[in-house]
Subunit: 180 residues, 2 copies
């Protein structure tokens, strides 16, 4: 086999239809390891400002004498015409680090204030069809701190999100039960 | 807050440009919980035959006296203009179960023959931008079985995939090292 190191993108043509604001569609010409040119189709988010599109947030909420819980969101997602259980997540704004985006999004979507514990390398969700990528950010939330007592969401217009607090060691069962 | 149960898709318009074969682009009109109509943009795979697009495969290769290993793939992905470390994965064919697709894809991409151990509920990779979805399938591979001794990939034209066998308990370190 020829070395895969020879692969490269030759050119990329924007084929987004008029009126699309959040997504771009591209036809990519790339050269395979044998030097043969091939076509690839790709959907992109048009909102990326830096190296990544967004963050997904694993928030561990700790309260004295109670088992840790994880906030998950239930929201209607038009692409699947259904409700989806998701980690809190969001796009990274201009001049924002992944950690800052995660703290901001967790606060907006759940009301909780957390502190960054860990940030993963960049993950590409579905690299065969899109360059959409993100980093997982782990946040620790002191559930007994004053700012986390009576939390309140700060949702944008058009966001309708229900927060569920799931026992840290019961996530799989929770997903399976929600799926029935 | 109005019940999120009222959300629904009102209509969906195909806006895919001519010449696209693998991807579709849609503009969706949906009704929010307050009864207000809103627009959503969505990219789809055009190849789905049943309920899911594809499978991602967690294959545990067991050999007597050795620690279990996980096969991960390194391949060039034109959408990100770079190489990506991925789980073996693939689209589900007509009349195929997720388990059958996983066994077939693992064999094609790595040469290994596995047995289905577990299939997760449906996961949507990035439900804000696409309906693309998949199920994770866990396969057990008897690395000492005759069919798994001298394994050989059976790649399609246009596939260039390097297989790496990573210690089961060393995946994170492997990803971090590959990322440098």
């Amino acid at each position: 086999m020829a070395s895969a190191a020879a692969s490269r993108v030759v050119c990329s043509e924007d084929r987004t239809p008029d009126g699309f604001r959040w997504l771009r569609l591209k036809q990519i010409t790339w050269e395979d390891p044998h030097g043969r040119q091939r076509l690839w189709e790709c959907a992109e988010r048009s909102t990326r400002r830096g190296a990544i599109d967004g963050v997904a947030i694993v928030a561990k909420i700790l309260r004295k004498g109670q088992p840790p819980v994880l906030p998950v969101l239930k929201q209607y997602r038009p692409p699947i015409e259904n409700y989806c259980l998701e980690l809190p997540a969001g796009l990274v704004d201009c001049n924002e680090t992944p950690g800052e985006a995660a703290v901001r999004e967790l606060k907006e979507e759940t009301g909780f204030t957390g502190a960054v514990q860990e940030v993963t390398p960049i993950c590409v969700s579905d690299p065969g069809m899109t360059n959409a990528n993100m980093q997982y950010v782990t946040l620790l939330v002191d559930g007994d701190a004053p700012e986390n007592r009576d939390v309140k969401q700060e949702l944008d217009d058009g966001e309708f999100i229900e927060v569920e607090l799931v026992r840290w060691d019961g996530l799989l069962q929770h997903i399976q039960a929600s799926n029935r």
